[in-house]
């Protein structure tokens, strides 16, 4: 048996031999041995018989007879041997795995700083990814956390021309309930209303839902019941379902709360049950819902309806079916162009622009992870070179290739898992930080947690990358395959494949960093532009307070007007308030109208390409004064006399209809209204032309035509008090003011108009900050990678440099030599990165403002930054190279 083994394996224990794969098949060996043994036994027995005088034949016969059931025994022994082999092998495998792991820990612990750097690098990439993908999941993929959320859809009506979306009517909703492609349809609305449980009215977030909502959303009834279909009837007693936190806070969690009453907007509701917290609905803000009330039959839905597609139904199929049903329900000829409505079935999630931006961030963080992995690969390669010797010795001692690979993979796996654990901790911390620093628009981030799915994916990713790294480390370089490494002069064998790999890694890192850098620069410029937009009015020190006059107490135009008058008079008396006025809305919060305008003697204001939106506001005469907007022509409204449908139009509107701003006295009306009223009622008269201003949002200035209606003519329930103050804003005084006029109304929040304007920008700014952080990290990591490679190259070529210096090379030449290597690598990476950026920038299209996606300045800045940092990374190795003493270099190995 021993002849079959290579000489080197003779002294090694059989068990280890078996494991190292140096052994011939165990089972066969056992069988052969057994046969030999039994054969010998037989012969000896026969011999014994012969010695006792039997003949040869008889002797053999007897011998065999004495055996017993030898065949069966043989078989059993063989089976037994096979089983034993399995168990032993398994045990040895486990043993060797444990051994590998222990050894890996020891090796990693020996080079502490290396290990720490590697783990931190991985933690960085993984942590950033965990945080960002939790956000992505929370905002975009699973915003409501209902069961079966991958089939959730929102249903709303969309005007074909304006692309605006409005809520479906109740008729339509009733019709939709029969749709086959939907398996659950809930009307969901959300409002901020006044809640009064104990005489102190406060604003509360009210969810208005249909009866089956609880089941649809997976919410749990903690006490009592949820809304019933009978509650939706117009004659039913109004019921309200509390949320858990309101139940605890306002009613002390008392179980006898069922049947108690409270008031919402002054109207009485009876408590019928309690629902658990954390149930989300689509709404403008994402505050938690405080109480739930049923949609009554006549209610307009406050927003899109939520539904779930049946298994296998597609969005298109649902869309077609719903439109057919809607057509029947409306009974209106909706082929008439201007009224054309389409049922839009979309997936829930944030607004389009935010959605795109968030995906961008997700992409960026993936790039960061790639760079981190490249750096870790660098580190592994560097270490691999250092361990050549050790691995060669192990190979010489009989460790098979497989064993060595397994050892290296185990090390990398441990490294990755450590990085994963650290990364998860980092990710959690980052999420906390993001939650604290989040911009207002993204208030839904308040509850973001690390998602279980994200966590699983992270761990799986770490495991896979760990294995990948190990394999890379194992199969690059010779790793014991050649005995040359054992020789003392190991340093001179430059491992070409390793170097190539490293160079490629550096180039990749640089390319990815460039992409991130350019993206960050583009976004920084976008945000800067956004901040510099001229809104068209002077909003310094102007504050706005918006409120809705509650139904029940204020139900007539006169009541609205008198409230407004009283409020504004009292407001002007507050110390610090210079001017005050009432309007329907503050700028950037104005209402909109959809449709075409027809001007007398002018063009029809419409456009086929873009939606025909007009920004509207209802104002009194002081509005323009408070915002320092000087009319271009005409005059402001007269607050006391409601003249015949006077309006003030914005400059762009005047120009688009009449190509002129001198249009006082001209008439205009909305086009395309098919009711049969007499024209005179619909015509508006231009009283003045105002300059363009940011009415809808900061970026809209001038583009959207604007029209102002007089407050005296059409006061509204929804009002905004706008004031210009001197010094600090007297918040308490305003609060007192509102309470003094109507104690049962909760005083509204005070916002500065500038803040309102900038609200849309804060999201961009936040995301930009994130991207900048990632880009910075990426560049830093790349620099470290480059530094490592150049240092290594310098140490490798120290001999060559020494020779050159000895032969008369100048210091400058040495510098040039080293820098060249580094710069060339960066330049290649840079070039690739630039091309990638150009190609990928189209993804940024919707998120940029004021810069084109191929803005040369941004690209230039990005490229320069990278080159600068690359050169900086090369400085230390260059200095070291210059200091090389030619004598030492040539002598050492």
């Amino acid at each position: 048996m021993t002849e079959k083994q290579p000489p080197i394996a003779k002294g090694i224990r059989p068990g280890i031999r078996r494991l190292l794969g140096l052994d011939v098949a165990y089972k066969d060996r056992i069988a052969a041995e057994l046969e030999d043994e039994l054969q010998m036994h037989l012969e000896l027995r026969a011999e014994q018989m012969r010695n006792m005088g039997m003949s040869e034949e008889r002797a053999m016969q007897q011998a065999r007879a004495r055996y017993g059931p030898i065949d069966q025994a043989t078989m059993e022994i063989r089976q037994h041997a096979a089983r034993t082999e399995q168990i032993t092998r398994r045990r040895l495998t486990v043993d060797s795995l444990i051994q590998d792991t222990r050894f890996a820990f020891r090796t990693l612990a020996r080079s502490k700083s290396w290990t720490i750097i590697a783990v931190l690098t991985l933690a960085l990439g993984i942590g950033a990814n965990t945080a960002v993908f939790s956000i992505v999941n929370d905002l975009l993929l699973d915003p409501f956390k209902y069961p079966n959320s991958n089939r959730l859809v929102l249903i709303s009506r969309s005007n074909e021309r304006s692309h605006l979306q409005t809520a479906p009517t109740m008729d339509q909703v009733r019709a939709f309930r029969t749709a086959r492609s939907l398996e659950g349809l809930e009307g969901v609305g959300s409002r901020k209303l006044t809640l009064d449980t104990n005489g102190d009215p406060v604003p509360a977030h009210v969810g208005i839902v249909s009866a089956t909502f609880a089941r649809f959303s997976g919410a749990r009834v903690l006490l009592g019941r949820f809304v019933l279909p009978t509650d939706e009837r117009a004659d039913a007693t109004p019921v309200v379902i509390l949320s858990n936190h309101i139940w605890q806070a306002r009613f002390g969690g008392a179980r006898d709360v069922i049947g108690k009453t409270l008031k919402i907007e002054g109207k009485q509701f009876t408590v019928a049950g309690v629902l658990n917290d954390g149930v989300r609905i689509p709404s403008y803000n994402h505050d938690p819902v405080d109480v739930w009330i049923p949609i009554s039959a006549n209610d307009q839905l406050g927003g899109p309806a939520i539904a779930r597609l049946t298994k296998g139904a597609t969005l298109d199929a649902a869309r077609a079916e719903l439109n057919a049903l809607a057509r029947n329900a409306e009974g209106v000829d909706i082929t008439a162009k201007d009224l054309a409505f389409d049922i839009v079935v979309i997936e829930p999630g944030s607004q389009q622009q935010t959605r795109t931006s968030i995906f961008m961030i997700a992409g960026a963080v993936c790039l960061l992870l790639l760079i981190a992995c490249a750096n870790v690969a660098h580190l592994l390669l560097a270490r691999g070179a250092a361990r050549e010797r050790e691995l060669s010795i192990r190979a010489a001692l009989g460790a098979g290739r497989g064993r060595i690979v397994r050892q290296l993979v185990t090390e990398s796996l441990i490294l990755s898992l450590a990085g994963c654990a650290a990364g998860i901790v980092m990710g959690q911390l980052s999420l906390r930080a993001i939650v604290v620093l989040r911009p207002e628009n993204l208030s839904e981030l308040a509850n973001v947690q690390i998602d279980a799915r994200v966590l699983t994916a992270t761990v799986a990713l770490s495991v896979m990358s760990g294995i990948a790294f190990g394999l890379v480390a194992a199969f690059s370089g010779k790793n014991g395959r050649s005995f040359e490494a054992l020789r003392a002069s190991a340093g001179t064998t430059v491992d070409r494949s390793r170097n190539r790999l490293r160079s490629m890694l550096v180039i990749t890192e640089n390319a990815l960093s460039v992409v991130l850098l350019i993206g960050a620069v583009l976004w920084i410029r976008t945000v800067t532009n956004l901040y510099q937009i001229e809104p068209g009015f002077d909003a310094t020190n102007v504050y706005a307070m918006s409120y809705d006059l509650p139904t029940g107490r204020y139900d007539s135009k006169e009541s609205w007007q008198s409230y407004a008058d009283r409020l504004v008079t009292e407001a002007r008396r507050i110390r610090g308030v210079d001017e005050a006025t009432i309007a329907a809305n503050a700028p950037s919060r104005t209402g909109i109208m959809i449709g075409n305008w027809v001007g007398e003697g002018g063009k029809i204001l419409k456009s086929d390409a873009a939606p025909t939106l007009t920004a509207t506001n209802v104002v009194s005469s002081d509005y323009f004064k408070i915002l320092r907007m000087r009319l271009i022509s005409g005059h402001v409204f007269d607050d006391n006399i409601a003249k015949n449908r006077e309006v003030i139009v914005s400059r762009s509107m005047a120009r688009q209809i009449w190509s002129d701003t001198n249009v006082v006295g001209r008439r205009l009306r909305m086009a395309g209204q098919t009711n049969a009223h007499a024209d005179s009622i619909l015509w508006n008269v231009v009283a003045g032309v105002a300059p363009d201003a940011a009415l809808l949002s900061l970026t809209d200035k001038g583009a959207t035509p604007g029209i102002y209606y007089p407050m005296s003519n059409s006061p509204d329930r929804h009002q905004t008090l706008m004031v210009r103050v001197r010094g600090t804003v007297p918040t308490a005084a305003f609060r007192r003011l509102f309470l003094s006029i109507d104690p049962s109304m909760s005083p509204p929040e005070i916002s500065s108009v500038t803040d309102l304007l900038l609200r849309s920008v804060t999201t961009q700014r936040f995301l930009m900050a994130l991207l900048t952080i990632f880009a910075t990290l990426a560049v830093a990591l790349s620099a470290i990678g480059l530094y490592g490679v150049i240092t290594y190259m310098v140490s490798q070529s120290s001999r060559e440099i020494g020779v050159r210096v000895a032969l008369g090379a100048e210091r400058l030449d040495v510098i040039r030599l080293v820098l060249q290597k580094g710069v060339v690598l960066s330049a290649i990476g840079l070039a690739i990165g630039l091309i990638a950026s150009l190609w990928g920038a189209r993804l940024l299209d919707h998120t940029l403002y004021g810069v084109s996606r191929t803005d040369p300045l941004s690209y230039l800045i990005g490229a320069s930054l990278l080159l600068l940092i690359a050169i900086a990374a090369c400085v230390a190795p260059t200095v070291r190279a210059v200091r090389i003493d030619p004598m030492l270099a040539m002598r050492s190995e």
Partner: protein, 115 residues
């Protein structure tokens, strides 16, 4: 006298005892046992080899290839420390058992009962 079949469970301890005299190969073990029992024991060879393999697994014996006097290659079994301990324990157990058995079976019947 008739040959007695080896009682179940005792083969192991017999083999171990045999090996206490030194390493032997399979045939030697059989021969020794037969001689010690004056051919009283009937040992199945197959059973013997099974027992040897079993004890090898349990670590009571160690196997190694060696050369017989006739220069033939044979598998020699050696008693290990563990085997020795096991032998001691089992011997004690069997002795006690045999004593108790003897005591019970050789009790005189009380008067009036069995003859």
């Amino acid at each position: 006298m008739d040959r007695l079949a080896v009682l179940k469970g005792t083969l192991d301890v017999l083999v171990l005892k045999t090996l206490a005299w030194g390493p032997m190969h399979g045939f030697e073990i059989t021969t020794w046992l037969e001689e010690s029992s004056n051919s009283g024991l009937d040992i199945e060879d197959a059973a013997l080899y099974q027992a040897l393999r079993r004890m090898e697994e349990r670590g009571y014996v160690e196997a190694q290839m060696g050369l017989t006097e006739n220069n033939r290659r044979a598998r020699y079994y050696k008693l290990t420390q563990r085997g020795q301990d096991h032998l001691k324990a089992e011997t004690a157990r069997w002795m006690r058992y045999a004593d108790m058995l003897t005591a019970i079976l050789s009790r005189r019947a009380p008067a009036g009962k069995l003859a």
